[in-house]
Amino acid sequence: MAESARWLVPRTGALRRGGRGLPGLWRSRTGTLGVAIVAVAVLCAALAPVLAPYNPTAAQFSTTLRPPSAAHPFGTDQLGRDVLSRVIFGARISLLVGGVTVLISGFVGCALGMLSGYLGGWLDAAVMRLADVQLSFPFILLALTINAVIGAGLQTIMLSLVVAGWPLYVRVVRGEILALRHREYVQAAIATGARNGRVMWQHVLPNVATPIIVVSTLQVSQFIIAEATISFLGFGIQPPTAAWGGMVSDGRNYIFFAWWLTAFPGAALALTALGVNLTGDWLRDTLDPRLRT
């Protein structure tokens, strides 16, 4: 099980092996596409009030459930709100949740993983058992339980994703550290009298950074989809806030005659996740070819 963490990281082999750093990006077509999609999503989130043609939450009862047209390219929903504007604003929730939760769960997981791998002993045993419990319990059920208990909302959903996300980092970081701890330069640092904190910060962390970056990128898309799934099931972001999962959930009730309510927010979600995944694949191929095969 512990060894399997690597394989869990989704991967596509790069056809073209990019050079190091940014120049490699333009040689990888899929990497370029991924970064472009992510850039568009970030732009939508940042400039939503400028880009959106209508107010995303203002009901307009004279134009409910209109199919896509020139005035409303993605149609209107059951309250007459412009779907395109809601999709653009929805990018904010998705990217916020994806970005912030990955940072927090990455920080928690890396800290625990480093302590666990470096210090070993009872701490290591306790952390790994906890991670095992976490992994043997379906992620979506755990997230739903937390949201059902604390009450649905943005903070709760982010908390539940952090709780669900940290074991992956623990496994990756701990594995790397167990391998690094006996390297000469680490032993040399210890021999010269460096304290634990310094050894970890100066000598170990830089060598673990690459797998962390790669794993984090791929987790961003998993978290974006997870947030949408929880919101879809009614435990997450509450109306009238425009969030893609909630929009698909609303659209589900009208699927028999208003396909556009479901199709567009879901497509935005899938496209964003695809963009993040392609970016992650490109990062992995460029930064850490070792992770590839």
């Binding site: 099980m1 399997s4 394989w7 869990l8 989704p10 991967r11 596509t12 082999g13 056809l15 899929t30 058992r129 906890l130 095992d132 419990v133 043997s136 319990f137 379906p138 979506i140 059920l141 739903l144 339980t145 937390i146 059902a148 208990v149 604390i150 009450g151 898309s221 989809i225 949408a228 799934t229 879809f232 099931l233 999962g245 698909v248 659209g251 589900r252 699927i255 028999f256 396909w259 479901t262 199709a263 879901g266 497509a267 979600l269 899938a270 496209l271 996740a273 695809l274 995944n277 392609l278 694949d281 590839r292 095969t293």
Partner: protein
Amino acid sequence: MSRYLLGRAGQAVLAIFLALTVVFFLVRITGDPVILFLPQDVQPKDIVYFRHLLGFDRPVWQQYLSFLGGAVHGDFGRSLRYRTPALSLVVSRLPATFQLAATSLAMVACAAVPVGIASAARRGTFVDNIGIAATAAGQAVPGFWLGLMLIWVFGVWLRWLPVAGYGGWTHFVLPSLTLTAFYAAQIARITRSSVLDALGQDYVRTARAKGIHERGVLARHVLKNAAIPIVTVFGLNAGQLLGGAVVTETIFAWPGIGQYILNALRGRDFPVVMVGVFLTSAIYILVNFLVDLSYVWLNPQVRYG
């Protein structure tokens, strides 16, 4: 071997115990569900009586101990909603979940492994590119959206298949396709990378040098060596699917364990939630244990001492 088995069993019991404990206290944080099960015009003294009847007036640690005492004997209490033993209620939902999981896993294995092998064997060609694009898309599309889009296309628009419910084989098509897409993409990617990895090994070069044609090399030397990562991830997937596909079962009104646990969570039916936690984690742990045992057969170098 017996020592290994004993250790694994101990770990499994500990993991299930911890999961049950965490969820037990988690669901009780917000208080008891008594109000939800009583009519609106109920008298306060009736609420107190009902609470006493269900044991929610006792300290939480007493409730916890009596829950553990019962759980050890396979008694998880009665469903608050249906007044029948929670365990048998949830177990009665297992066949539907197992059927859906088995169909989906069979489809995953039949679709993903050949695609992954073809992709690796023809690395860099058109076939490989198609495979990579399909798997990237499969992993990015959220299950709940794919399910709804399939309902719209095949159920609403073309009217070929039923939109939801449980019944003949036509009812299996859309839910199992929904589940297959994501897992197949994952397995295809892992198959591709582990076959590529095996193709680069010395024994493959030797086999080729002996004059075995490429198909024989793939079938006899590459596949078995590439199998361990594939089997591992397939096992993780199977463990998840057999424990109930919450989202897919909900979308398609599939009478499985995942949908049932979700509804219990919504209705605060604590005993049913606890049984759900127990069953899903037990199934997951059991399947992964079987996967670990299969390594012995796949790679004779693996020994469990």
